[in-house]
């Protein structure tokens, strides 16, 4: 794919609209950054396992208990407060635009 086509495709994936001028600018900068990170091709990674976790931590398990005595107690949050943060809301539910036309 041409650089410009790639950038158009990525813009769709990231759900951001761009003007033609912005698209032009991003394509140019994108190329420069890709040239820079492309240097990694020189690194010899034969047989190297990709890193999973930097401090070697295994899965952290806890009891499935959300009471105050349990392990993970999330801060208590007022549902009305959360509802107020949504752009559209009615009677405790978040309103969104019509999905199917």
């Amino acid at each position: 794919m041409e650089n410009k086509d790639i950038v158009h495709h990525i813009a769709q994936l990231v759900r951001i609209s761009f003007t033609d001028a912005e698209m032009e600018k991003f394509s140019r900068e994108f190329r420069a950054i890709l040239d820079f990170v492309g240097k990694l091709k020189e690194a010899d990674v034969e047989g190297v396992e990709p890193i999973a976790h930097i401090t070697g931590r295994e899965n952290a398990r806890r009891e499935d208990d959300f009471t105050d005595d349990g392990g993970a107690v999330l801060p208590k949050i007022d549902p009305d407060f959360l509802e107020e943060q949504a752009p559209g809301h009615i009677e405790g539910e978040v309103r969104v635009p019509r999905v199917l036309q």
């Binding site: 990231v14 991003f26 994108f30 492309g38 690194a43 949050i77 752009p87 999905v99």
Partner: protein, 513 residues
């Protein structure tokens, strides 16, 4: 023990330890210190713009409560009554948390980050929230949607970033200490530029619960302070296991390094100078400062040797693939639907009110569909650098490019970590520059994203390898009639923060002599 004898009448210049001694003596109260900081902010922050919000009323109330604890002899912690500034990507319940972005301009945090809960439990006073590059993406605070912060040492220069507001607030005595976050150098580089002390702890040492996520495998909250001892006090208050962050350790493992730390002498300490950090592009005046520091450590009984971290030349490329990849996933949550700015609300002056409770929105005549909310909200309320990184990360993770970019970067990251594991069998601590350049001027690097990225060249490896890094001022350089600070970096093995504090204090003593 007070680090430096400070006889000045201005309490904002006191270190945490010095102020705590006065609180106990009764020669200073938390209220008096808080008032002094608020007055300094009113007087000087118009020029500096370190703060995005200041909580004067609540700070006064909390200070009065601390006054009472000291009067009644009920105060315990070293941070009791201490005014602290917080980077605006860390949640304080009921307060704004903009992350330097228009998309969170009117967002209000619904809970305290774990680090904030810990500071409050120690009696610390949350003074306000500080400026940053949008979502902590930048090295100058020029990417803040609310205007840049200026460097208190020279107002024509950037304070570094992304925790530029926190570094400037500490440097200008607008708080006793501050919290920042460090994904690729965002605590350490601004600490160097503003001439203060900053710590990026070991990954997994400090809870990230309540930190607005940028790149989750790299992010770590750390203190910015007037001296090493203060940074240590704040670090000890915020570190520890947290059930809300599964990467935190119940019991930090014993560091590989045999150096036990917490010693009054650094005799026998093995210091490594990684040759890859002293190559082309390093300002010779910064190199000279690092050489003076290593000589000072040698005089105190440390052994100095040149070491090698051979994969260092690849670190920046690895960082600028892995970080954007994680950014693209973390910032997908800003969709204009659940919270934050949205074209459904913010670009519509009179929203349609639905029947019953709450507010609604009108489907516009053009029959904009669901997708437009995503595309237009993200276009209008994200800045260019954020868009750039979301795009780059999505590309690196996309089908057909994943193996060549993201996958390969993860492999090279493993090699970088091996470099550090190996070198810390030979030495206890690494001494390096923090930035290849002195604080630069506004606009110098803004138009060229790659030039801005190069500011992180000496700091990203610590995040990639998960090791701690402490930055402290060591000397200053005169340029255009202003004295600009030089910040040096100490890196240690995972969980060896105590070693870094010991060496930091030795360097401070040498710097004063």
């Amino acid at each position: 023990m007070a680090l430096r004898k400070n006889m000045t009448a201005d309490p904002t210049k006191l270190t945490i330890t010095e102020a705590a001694v006065r609180f106990r003596e009764g020669t200073l109260t938390p209220s008096a210190l808080t008032e002094a900081h608020l007055a300094a902010i009113a007087q000087r922050d118009g020029d500096i713009h370190a703060y995005l919000s200041v909580f004067a009323d609540e700070a006064r109330k909390d200070a009065a409560a601390a006054d009472r604890r000291f009067r009644e002899g009920a105060a315990g912690s070293a941070l009791d009554g201490m005014p602290i500034a917080v980077k605006d990507n860390i949640l304080v319940s009921g307060k704004p948390a903009t992350a330097g972005s228009r998309i969170l301009e009117s967002y209000v945090a619904s809970y305290d980050a774990t680090v904030i809960a810990k500071l409050k439990a120690e009696g610390a006073i949350i003074l306000g929230k500080t400026n940053l590059d949008e979502f902590a993406m930048g090295a100058s605070t020029e990417h803040s949607a609310f205007g840049p912060t200026r460097n208190p040492r020279d107002l024509t220069r950037v304070p570094g970033g992304s925790s530029g507001g926190s570094a400037a607030a500490v440097a200008a005595d607008l708080c006793a200490a501050a919290l920042g976050s460090d994904t690729g150098g965002s605590v350490r580089q601004p600490a160097a530029f503003c001439g203060v002390t900053g710590l990026k702890p070991t990954y997994g040492r400090v809870s990230r619960s309540g930190l607005i996520a940028m790149a989750s495998s790299l992010d770590q909250i750390g203190p910015l302070a007037k001296c090493t001892e203060d940074a240590e006090i704040v670090f000890n208050a915020i570190a520890g296991h947290d059930p809300l962050d599964a990467t935190t350790h119940e019991k930090p493992p014993i560091p590989n390094s045999p150096w036990p730390g917490r010693q009054s002498s650094i005799s026998g300490l093995r210091v490594g100078l990684p040759k890859e950090y002293f190559g082309e592009g390093l300002d010779p005046r910064i190199r000279e400062s690092a050489e003076r520091a290593s000589e000072a450590l040698r005089k105190e009984g440390a052994t100095i040797s040149e070491v090698s971290l051979p994969h260092t030349p690849h670190a920046l490329a690895v960082y600028y693939l892995l970080m954007p990849s994680e950014v693209s996933a973390n910032l997908a949550r800003f969709d204009g639907i659940r919270y934050g700015a949205s074209i459904l609300r913010d670009s519509r002056p009179t929203p349609y009110r639905a029947e019953g409770s709450g507010s609604g929105f009108q489907i516009p005549d053009s029959r904009k569909d669901f997708w437009d909310v995503y595309f237009e909200t993200r276009r209008q309320f994200f800045g260019d650098e954020v868009k750039r990184r979301i795009m780059l990360g999505t590309f690196a993770l996309s089908s057909g490019y994943y193996d060549a970019y993201y996958g390969r970067a993860q492999q090279v990251r493993a090699l970088i970590q091996r470099d550090f594991t190996r070198v810390f069998t030979d030495v206890d601590v690494l001494l390096t520059p923090t930035s290849p350049v002195l604080p630069f001027r506004f606009g110098e690097r803004l138009e060229d994203p790659l030039a801005m990225y190069l500011a992180d060249i000496y700091t990203v490896s610590a995040n990639l390898a998960g090791v701690p890094g402490l930055v402290l001022p060591f000397g200053a350089v005169e340029e255009d009639g202003r004295m600009l600070p030089v910040g040096l970096q100490l890196m240690g093995a995972p969980f060896a923060e105590n070693t870094l504090f010991s060496v930091g204090k030795a360097l401070e003593a040498a710097n004063r002599a």
